[in-house]
Symmetry: D3
Subunit: 324 residues, 6 copies
């Protein structure tokens, strides 16, 4: 029976353009709120892009995603899932970044997520650039490495940039493997494409056992086959889902800093998440939404639509773990 | 032999960016014009969005559609149809709405369309939000209910909004069924998707026999199969075609108030209309084009391209009714 | 001594692009919140534009104004006023409008404001189109008519539109005078300009004693003289301030539905509010900000800057009524 | 008594966003229309920019100006003039340009304007780039040279471009002087500014007696003094008014191909036209409005506002020539 | 072994948003540069759109394409080709057009390309409107006609416009056939669609043996089959590749003057170029990118991505001609 | 006599939309170019915004300023100065920043400017955010502190942000004073406005003798008086000019991260620079131009127009130091 406190405001009561925009029109429950203990899935913003090597902007992502999320209703039209009747969801607010200090911000993020996890809450993150995933994973994988389904046009497995800079949005998963946060053989990267500096990233993937599915293979085999393989790779173990909006073709998601043409369409963008139903998903993120490059807001809206699909998968994972 | 008066101005004579923009560069023939009696298909604007529960803007639709329509030439490149050589077409101007009075505007629309029908003219409407279809149907179905092929991402079959408001752009077809304007078993809704408040609308569809084809089924079966079924549903009877621009994926048609991601692409958007050839189409509309959200004008241009396809189907229905 | 609960979040702690956007980064205190009684100035959104006769959009105003308001810091750079250390301010949320029913929405607004006033809170409104001011005034003037300083390019004193429609954004102050909500001789309208249908509105103003200061006079006499006269007109009595963003030239405030060229610049836009210091201001509004026409967000930012100036004037009026 | 046929449609009857957009919502009277003989002022579009040496776009000017002009009402708010009650005004449509042939297009324009003048109609032109003024002047000055008040940030008096090309938007008035269309001593150019290639243009002005008033002088002396001098220069003789939208500062009029910063504001933009009242104005143009660079439409709206001021001056010149 | 001088600047050294933008971050080698002789592929801008009959803008194409091209890295992610290690590539700068003289500009272009060819350089052109291809072909086919693979939504085979104007962007290939620059039976046009004036262009194609593949056939048969036929048509002979950006659906490439809906997506846009590997490509162009209509820059980025694919095909054609 | 190598390309030869965009169309002379020794004024880009605490984007500034600068011609229209005939000017390219490491980037900048100064070149910088000025001043003031005329809406004199972060775009001049790079009594800050966190920055200014001229004083006294005082403050000593684009009102310069309404217009923006003629200017910068927030490019164009004014002042300072 749904907890009335944790229900989103209906558009039938308050039109969707109205009201202070929280994620999905859910209640705002800061970490010091007495009802925090009741929350099961927490939506968290990480407004941060200091790791961006190219065009900045994802620091504005959480606010734009919250705004667009007021367009999302309570029921998943494709799967019929009504997540808010299954688990208590809330907007936990934003991590306070320090835009001028990368190391400080990473510590702040990890610390925030440790509190969230300590409270027994499964986090769904709205970034932020892709470096965000590293400090989040440091909290998630505190007890041991996790698997990962990673949707992206880039591997983000580079060693370093600009003559030795180790922490950028092009390196998070290299660091995560090095730090033992990911089980490489339980990691699959889907949609990789675009021009490349060289093959250093993919060589690293091969060397540690990460499976890279380039976009040519994705288009040739189709969503069903690719996702079946992805499910096999991550298996039953705890799995992180990292969704870079630039996985999607820039005609559908123009608002991102490093777009790559030739990607999936918006329907495939949703299908790949629905194909995660039943996995042991322990946390997820949506990153690299960059509102300054998102004339018209299409990217935020698609990003938040994908977030709702992730939320549904997570709600099912919590409410019916046996089905996994 | 084409009537020279009713021919669109050629871009070879007057460049397409020039001239006062009427629909398809056709002559403007107001209802009091002596040549009204010669018109066979009338293009009509309904600049109205007072039924919009979400983001407004379709009141600006007719002007933007007229502007974009000056890019459309005289021959259908796919089917070879040259409608202006088959029937006399004209721009009948706009219905004058009362933006601050919904009931008054509905009366004005119905009255306008009754005059059009009395003159023996088949109307092709440029809305306007989807509530527009209701007062139009009141004129169209004055003699009896009609069937409908309805392209949309929403059913628009809700009972009411905001605690009992009966006339919004989310309720027109509920009202139309209640008022006996539509034969429910001859109604098919194609492309339904997105998150839902609840299933009240689809339950109603089921209860009265309306066939709802969700987007998942559309993508899985393909245009040909889906449209074959749609043709069977409406059969030979008089059929209204209602085309909400949000049927199309927002990457192709961003300029609309309630977009839903994961829809058809622009080629499919045209294909579904071409698949209506030979049906007993008695009127059609293109609604929910919202220029304030249409940066760059892509939506108006796609909307007007679809209108031309509808026009070709209607011209064939008139000029060669035996082939239906 | 400032109440720590009612302080806006500092940009030194949480960067200004971060966090859920409430007005001025103040706490959200809904009408049923136990701390409502402590609030002295309440910022309220009225996301509504059903009275708009021209280009719609102000229903999106409150959200955009909240978003832009996170750029505003705690101290007035020109006057040195630090309002949050003088009075308790809070974001009271939005009135829930019914976009498809004007009469219903007006009732909802008046009812909301009556509760606010009953709680002893002075309201600062973010509209909404200008019809918003009418139901607000019905609450404000419940005990007797008030004076008004009205910044606008239009008088909004027309009798009716579209053949007799009485409630539109072009008629609120005609109705307010008729209903006895305004003392006409204590009303001054500043900045009136643009082309006119006819002089019916200004004739009415003259007939009831409203002082209209057209833009030509404003530019010729300057802010100081004009505002001195305005202060004299409203005197010591309770005074409403209504600020239509289209008072300002559209180069500075493009995001509005009925712009008129040749208006004041942004500095004058602030100066006129600072000139209200010491008046007996009992409530104020900022209306007609239309985000769909506000590419780049300049209008929302200027609108929220003006709101902060209004807030400072109101805070002084409360904290030091003797100085008035 | 106003001729009802030539009245613009009121926004009280048909909202201003509705209807097929003609200039000022006036009737469309093509050159072959039987009522042409009744027209006294004709608004004409010249959608042409083949003379543009920099960023193109003014070919889209007439349509955008027509669209924006539907926002203009019937009475001048500053002067009280109601032009449509003084003279018969109509939209004469567009000259059909040949975008790929400059000489051909110039002939088409001159020919069109000769017909207009032969019908006794005073033309008000919506360009088009500034080369438009040359073929118009060829018609206007057929009987003898005219004076000119020229608002612009450029003199457009260059000899040639690109190694000898004589007909561009930087040369029209050099040609006009050479062809004897202008009386140089009755020509004043106001607002000249920006960086320069060299002083060849201003040297030519000096050599033939054209008065150039640079923007520094304009700002230092003010509108009243500058316009008094301008009136003296053109005196009582027949006078052409050429208004390049780039006269106005680009913050107010961004949509133009060669903007120059530091110009007049929108109020001054209107004042300078009002200062022409009583002159013997025989024709006028508004040129260089470039919609592709006019995000948001501010330039078209300001351009059309200036056109209405020009129209009022022309209407007074016709209806009350004694007052000149 | 790659020549270090001709290597693009890596984004690892200089971030991709930094630096003066040359094509692909290659060195700028003007025609009078001593290192011109070393260049094997020259990227050339032709900033020209005077042949445009509809919406202008492609004169801004080369600069926008250069800007976007700084996002392209050194390795083709799909084919693995690293062109700069195979052949010396350079940015040869822009041809200086005369925007106000079509004939003069065509001569300037042909002259520029003759010098490039004389230096033994294979040219890759960034237009410019499609008339650009004609003067380029005059240089390319100086020794004899070539075949052509032409991606476009229009045939550009019309005889003339506006009553006899022979040189527009709708006529280049009609002229090229007439002038003996193309072997018609070795010409294939792919993607043709949209409404048509009449069938004059396609009748001409048929009469001379040009193969036109309309979009319906493209979508029905798929990229592989269509491109196999295209390869057969052009065979082993010298082949020009002309790529009009409006080949691609406007959702992916909005920034063009005459878009036609219902086209290929961005992945197909790349695939068709990759299918040219091994052909005897002697030159290529990317035309009709129109930045004023490219809000957000998606078109320039996709255009430059296609140019990189063309560059890879050309590099392979040079470095390994046996494989062709 | 002007050195032909260092002349900008004329728009009469190569249209201004054509060509690879260097600053002012000057030759690109990298630091290792043999002609570096001949350069007297070097225009340098610093594409960097890692010190931005609010909305990022200035890393894209140099490219956008270069692009817009191709609109600037060779002669100052107001002062008649032709700088390229007085001194050799060149585009020295960009400093390569490390977007993910503030300290590293500051070192790179200082090192680059030391080389420039060693070559006897006076630098004119295009930022970048305002932290850019600090590492530049470290090079400029290597031999001793300098005075500064600082145009801005913020003092940038804060001690630290986010709990102790010392290097942000809000602190550069605090650091510069602490490091002995500026003589505080020879520093004047003009245009300060907007809301404030507190008065810590202005208290510091007072304590060290920096003169702060708030915008209210600027508007009340006028450009002439304010600049006369500024000239007195800096006197004859070596003077740095730092021009933050947010000095200008956001209607004229929207493209910046922390706009403040109520500022100077574009004419005043130029006037204040012209008032610096004859001062001992040793270097200057234009910072905080943020292209992602600059829809339409107005800010870049105004920024580059101001840069040209700065360049003219610097050219006069070099070529005629006696006149200072």
């Amino acid at each position: 029976m749904p907890n009335p406190f944790f229900q989103p405001v209906s558009g039938f009561e308050l039109p969707r353009f109205a009201g202070i925009p929280t994620f999905m029109r859910l209640p705002h429950v800061p970490l010091d709120d007495p009802r925090l203990a009741e929350v099961e899935i927490g939506l968290i913003g990480v407004p941060w892009d200091s790791g961006t090597t190219n065009r900045p902007g994802p620091r504005h992502g959480p606010r734009a995603l919250r705004d667009a999320s007021t367009m999302i209703r309570a029921e998943n039209g494709a799967t019929g899932v009504r997540p808010y009747e299954m688990v208590n969801c809330a907007d936990l607010g934003d991590v306070a970044p320090n835009p001028a200090d990368i190391a400080d911000t990473m510590d702040r993020i990890t610390s925030f997520y440790c509190k969230v996890l300590d409270a027994g809450i499964m986090p769904l993150t709205a970034g932020g650039d892709h470096l965000t995933s590293l400090p989040v994973l440091r909290a998630i994988a505190a007890e041991g490495p996790v698997g990962m389904v990673h949707f992206d046009s880039h591997t983000d497995l580079y060693h370093s940039y600009f003559g030795g800079t180790m922490y950028t949005h092009g390196t998070p998963f290299r660091r995560a493997v090095e730090e033992g946060l990911l089980e490489p053989e339980r990691v699959v990267q889907i949609g990789i494409r675009g021009t490349a500096y060289d093959s250093e990233d993919r060589d690293f993937a091969t060397s540690v056992g990460i499976r890279v599915i380039p976009i040519e293979e994705f288009h040739a085999r189709g969503v069903d086959q690719v996702m079946a393989e992805a499910r096999e790779i991550v298996g039953d173990g705890p799995t992180y889902v990292s969704y870079d909006i630039d996985f999607i073709d820039p005609a559908f998601a123009p608002g991102t800093g490093t777009p790559e043409v030739g990607g999936p369409n918006s329907y495939q963008a949703l299908q790949v998440v629905r194909a995660l139903r039943g996995l042991n998903v322990v946390a997820a993120d949506m990153v690299e939404v960059s509102p300054p490059f998102d004339l018209g807001g299409a990217t935020s809206y698609l990003g938040t639509s994908v977030m709702f699909e992730l939320l549904c998968v997570m709600a099912e994972a919590i409410s019916d773990p046996m089905k996994r």
